[in-house]
Symmetry: D2
């Protein structure tokens, strides 16, 4: 794909709720999308760890753009469903999400998102998600799938 | 359970990320928790629908408190994993989440969260999640499970 | 739908692997499918409980036919993915599966399967699955989705 | 771990339902388990592909033994839940399952299972599962978790 398309995706990613959360884009390539969050108090839950909802938002949205990177702007990407496992509390200052497309069907695209909590030089994997997405022609988006 | 415990849960729910998102509590009973969000632009994604991350945050957090309602304050509730299916775009002004504990094991609690988008008098179910939780003694929380 | 279609589904269900497992059909209606298994030693795992694979097979196949019941014979139903939670060991002599379609999209159908272990007059819910299915035109089935 | 333990696991794997299905063990190492199935007509579904239930059985059971390989015989491994995505029809003569532990908690172990369909020299990945398991002291197994 062209670098114009990747530049568009980087800008398009940071809108609405992900922008409100403060997520930014690190890297994009064919079927790959990496994002980052500088953890603030507002991202935490009652025990001081990053909230599962923050990690889920990053996992879903980043996987969606990994899928978006392999189609054209004639399509929109919808999340059909996702599943996320939480391994360890995210206690670091930075949260990283690395998403990769693992299967490309004619309509159904499957991606995985791995979440890492970084504390100084130390990085641990805190969660992993499998995300099932659907590429839908942009003009048909109003209809339910 | 006592109404003191339910009053505590209502206050405890609205902290950190869920508070930043604007989620409020409607109702709590034994194994049941209902929450609500008045949808603002910051909750939407690029196509104008409520972002999947918002729904995931409500589904996870509300299920967690449904589980919390059946244990005592000697415990904390951790999300082991969850899975969420998205059925229809959430286009209404209000998002409702109704969570129910569906199985109570000695340590593992399973809850379901249903998400409804309300537009005036009309309500449609937009997503459903299954959430696997673990009750952990509060004093052992530092250790990974 | 006509009773001819339901009769066809009852016969069609019992082929290949589900037949080898010994699963039989109890009931079919619009978006609803119920099946049964008389538990034998070959269905158990190393601790004497019904194997998770048996329950998964029933959950998937029965959900698939619940979805099949709402489309016509111009379509085939493919499982995109499923998720199953196991609540209690299945120790009874009979395993029952009750599947229901919970959302009907244009292409994506979501169904739930509940598994019950029956021991005499006593019945307990032992597992629950969420199954994401896709209706595909029968003549296009060779292509990957 | 000792090779005695691995030899025990290889024998222990092939009992009950997995044995009835015809699954055999290829390889075992610390947190790793590989199995194989020579596909027969009884493993197929109505369209001639390997049934999702067969793949689910392999994915669950093989992940369970990958988890079992990292604990001692004082423990039993229970599947709390799993999720499996199906990518392509399994059309080959041999089905392979490769499971790996991806997170080791104090009680909760997470493993992934990848399923490959082999046709002559050609191998394609047809499904992938995430399996959440729990290590339970063998003597406490009667109680529900």
């Amino acid at each position: 794909m062209s670098s114009d398309w990747y530049d568009f995706l980087k800008k398009d990613y940071v809108r609405g709720f992900p922008s409100y959360c403060g997520i930014t884009v690190d890297f994009v390539d064919d079927g790959v999308f990496h994002t980052r969050l500088n953890v603030q108090d507002r991202h935490r839950q009652q025990d001081g760890f990053v909230h599962a909802g923050v990690m889920s938002t990053m996992a879903d949205h980043t996987a969606g753009y990994a899928a978006y990177s392999i189609v054209s702007n004639q399509y929109r990407i919808l999340t059909i469903e996702f599943k996320i496992n939480f391994f360890k509390p995210a206690t670091g200052d930075v949260l990283l999400c690395r998403s990769t497309v693992i299967n490309r069907g004619a309509q159904i695209i499957t991606a995985e998102s791995e979440l890492f909590s970084r504390d100084g030089d130390f990085e641990k994997r805190v969660a992993k998600a499998t995300v099932t997405l659907m590429a839908v022609a942009a003009k048909s988006l109003i209809k339910n799938v």
